[in-house]
């Protein structure tokens, strides 16, 4: 009897150990144009990276603003205007810094400025300046927005696409087709 019991335990352990779990695909990186396309967000799109952050109160919250192009239909651009709304009940704006893409990986110093309405709207204005290149092309990191978390809760930070703009060197506008917000959870 003891032999049979041990035998059953061994079988259960073997099945548990050797069970073939099937995983679901979870490709949802905002920088991934395919994942955005699957969500109905067409390129070029303005997104935040990472898409979700969970932090404690009084911690620094850093969010990257990123422009995502489809690799087969990239367009060169030089300037951008981004209008961002954030939950001021949770976050307090600290500072905004230019991203690696707009600085050509820290090789140039772009024209980069921003305005804050004192409430929850941030306007970022940037223009690519370089002695060797006229413009930049493709997916890239435009700005780092840094907040302080001031209270607990969860909310989203998002673009106001009506007031966002991307221009070529000849001032022609490139239509921004999509946007993705980011979720902030303060515990």
């Amino acid at each position: 009897m003891k032999f049979i019991y041990n035998y059953k335990v061994l079988i259960v352990l073997l099945f548990t150990f050797l069970s073939c779990k099937l995983y679901k695909k979870d490709f949802d990186n905002p920088v991934d144009y395919i994942a955005n396309d699957d969500l109905g967000v067409d390129a070029p799109a303005l997104v935040f990276y990472p898409k979700t952050q969970t932090l404690n109160q009084n911690e620094v919250v850093k969010i990257e603003s990123v422009i995502v192009f489809h690799p087969d239909s990239t367009e060169s651009f030089v300037g951008m205007h981004l209008q961002i709304q954030f939950p001021n009940t949770l976050l307090e704006l600290d500072t905004i810094k230019p991203g690696l893409f707009i600085t050509d990986t820290s090789n140039t110093t772009p024209l980069f400025t921003y305005s804050f309405d004192g409430d929850n709207v941030i306007d970022i204005y940037t223009y690519f300046l370089s002695e060797t290149k006229l413009n930049i092309e493709g997916t890239g990191h435009i700005a780092d927005i840094i907040f302080n978390s001031i209270s607990t809760g969860s909310d989203s930070i998002y673009y106001d696409l009506d007031d966002c703009q991307m221009i070529k060197i000849n001032d022609d506008e490139i239509q921004i087709m999509g946007k993705r917000g980011a979720e902030i959870i303060i515990q």
């Binding site: 073939c20 995983y23 990472p50």
Partner: protein, 300 residues
């Protein structure tokens, strides 16, 4: 006149009915069988036996004759007249390891022909030689005692239900459940054991390889998915996504393959055990005599 003839015929008829058959018994044994002659007389007291041990080595070549029944007719007639007997009974017993061969010949001295012969090859049992001799003589006289038959049956198994077998079908099944082919090997079926072991070993190996590939793919998928989510570099995102997609596809294929192979292996394993039980060691219920191609009957 009739009154004289009828009693005379009746007395003659009565005397002929009471006439005991007389036998000359020639026992040729390669080993001494004590009290053989005495037991023959005791068991068949209605018959009269004459014994002569001096007549030896006759009919050693009986089987070489085309017609053994009539090959020594003159000699039999002469012996019949000499000993005043109606039959000559020649009994030969030869021992071969744990067996013995009884060759019994019955001749009629009036015709000199061989009228009855019994040749048996038996495993030795207690007092088997004398018992078989008595049964043979009893057969020629039309007398059979149950006790003699019982003695012969002592070399057979008493009751199959009471037998304890060293090897059983269940023993074979359990062995095959532990290790495929073991039960068949236990039943002395070496080829079957090799085939089962080979098939199950191949299936098990294929299953293990599929599972290891599944495990590798699944871990690769999780690892690449993590790297995919942890970077904001579009090139790295594309690279890790492609790798994760490939690993995901592989982990699905190998998972299905591993499940199919595991099913085949386990089904085969159980079938192997059932096969070991079905074809496991059992006592023979039908025992056939080996075909004797040299037999005269088969030639005819």
């Amino acid at each position: 006149m009739l009154k004289i003839i009828i009693p005379f015929i009746f007395v003659n008829l009565l005397s002929s009915m009471n006439q005991e058959p007389t036998y000359l018994v020639l026992n040729h044994f390669d080993k001494d069988i004590p009290q053989a002659e005495k037991l023959l007389v005791e068991n068949f007291n209605n018959s009269k036996f004459e014994f002569d041990a001096a007549l030896e080595n006759i009919f050693t070549d009986l089987d070489s004759y085309d017609n053994p029944a009539s090959s020594h007719m003159d000699m039999m007639k002469e012996l019949g007249e000499k000993y005043k007997v109606s039959f000559i009974l020649l009994n030969k017993i030869e021992h071969k390891e744990d067996r013995f061969v009884l060759d019994g010949l019955l001749f009629n001295t009036r015709s000199g022909g061989l009228i009855h012969r019994r040749k048996i090859d038996l495993k030795q049992y207690l007092d088997g030689q004398i018992n078989e001799l008595i049964m043979w003589v009893g057969n020629t006289l039309g007398v059979q005692e149950k006790e003699w038959q019982k003695n012969r049956e002592s070399i057979l198994f008493n009751d199959p239900e009471e037998l304890t077998y060293d090897k059983t079908p269940m023993g074979a099944a359990i062995r095959s459940l532990i290790a495929p082919g073991w039960g068949q090997a236990y039943s002395n079926k070496k080829t079957s054991a090799g085939v089962w072991f080979g098939v199950e070993a191949s299936l098990s190996l294929a299953f293990i390889l599929s599972y290891l590939n599944y495990d590798k793919s699944a871990k690769g998928f999780l690892s690449n998915t993590d790297l995919y989510h942890q970077t904001d570099d579009e090139k790295l995102v594309a690279k890790h996504r492609a790798a994760a997609e490939k690993d995901w596809g592989n982990h699905i294929i190998y998972s299905r393959l591993a499940i199919a192979l595991a099913s085949a292996t386990s089904t085969g394993w159980v079938s192997n055990s059932i096969h070991a039980w079905v074809f496991g060691p059992r006592p023979y219920t039908n025992i056939y005599q080996e075909w004797d191609s040299s037999s005269e009957l088969n030639k005819g």
